[in-house]
Symmetry: C2
Subunit: 211 residues, 2 copies
């Protein structure tokens, strides 16, 4: 733990096991990546996937911001999952259930072709399990147009809020319902591409994602 990953505010919500970090990161497909550009903060959403003890990010070599990310800048990558609304007896105690992870570091570029393929497979399989093996191999021009970054999971913090409403005793007789309204995220019905040819069926691995 470093000075900037020590959770000062509501420290009882801090979680320090690396397994908890992995669970939060694995549950997210998008991270918000903050860095300093021309002296000002920039905060971009980036598709993300954990691969062992590193976080993978990828973008286009044509993206100015992504090239900046690969230039050795410090980042703060934050992932937040919203799990519910906490309805307390007062507005003050009302809150939300969430899981959040923050990772600090300097991303490194994955530039060797073999390493890049490993990273792209890990990302595709994290987002779309089972799909990589069904797709044609990436083309050389596609690899050249894709920038892959890795951020070692070294300096990080995790905060989880999952408790019941925490009203003080004097509020417990307020004539208002209190509790938690869970928020769930799920996949809907797959929508075939308009230009789908030859009628390949919805692949069986999709069922695993949606169930």
């Amino acid at each position: 733990m470093t000075e900037r990953t020590r959770i000062r505010r509501i420290p009882e919500k801090a979680v320090t096991e690396v397994a908890a970090l992995h669970r939060v990161l694995d549950a997210a497909k998008v991270a918000h990546v903050a860095f300093v550009h021309d002296g000002a903060p920039v905060n971009i959403p980036v598709a993300t996937a954990r691969d062992g003890s590193r976080l993978l990010l990828h973008g286009s070599t044509g993206s100015r911001l992504f090239r900046t990310l690969a230039s050795g800048v410090g980042v703060c990558v934050t992932v937040t999952l919203l799990d519910g609304m906490v309805l307390a007896r007062s507005a003050f105690e009302s809150s939300m259930h969430y899981r959040s992870a923050m990772v600090f570091g300097i991303p490194g570029e994955v530039s060797e072709v073999a390493d890049k393929l490993v990273a792209l497979e890990a990302m595709t399989e994290a987002w779309m399990p089972g799909r990589w093996a069904t797709l044609r191999a990436p083309l050389a021009k596609e690899l050249a147009a894709t920038m892959v970054l890795e951020l070692v999971l070294d300096e990080w913090s995790v905060k989880i809020s999952d408790g019941d409403p925490d009203d003080p005793p004097e509020d417990l007789d307020e004539p208002v319902w209190a509790g938690v309204l869970p928020i769930t995220t799920s996949y809907g019905v797959p929508v075939p591409a308009p230009d789908l040819r030859g009628g390949p069926p919805v692949p069986p691995y999709l069922v695993d994602w949606t169930s």
Copy 2:
């Protein structure tokens, strides 16, 4: 539009109507707020709500990071909603449906009690419509412990990705299913607080949130 809100990368995904900005912000309950602290980027999740042409943020006066936010620092507030997975015929063309908004500015503190109450009501009603009127009024000590910030929606950009897979002609005969897998977020069954007394029923406005 300023130099830093001009979308260079895939500019056809840029949306410039303010109504679109409002829709994206209104669909989100949490924003990621990036700022520079001791020379390094920090990126914190903050509950957020739009109120007219300003974005409201609130936190504890006991939070060091939140006090920093109120000290006149520049921020980049980003909101991202993930709407689906785009399964193209190649990993390269595979992507996600999303709506994202980025707002730059310097947050100002809402410090007058009357203004703070207006802001707290707007936030509570944005997150839990119908609930504010059923709650007791905030106490003076609660108001004193709550810091409210407003960020004027002046410098911003919105990017929306909602198209079909965009495979090149030579990939259309790949023997793989292609399409979009929508992602939906919904409320689950309300869970009463363990210390709920007197049996107040689940309030009718909750049904409106969940339907």
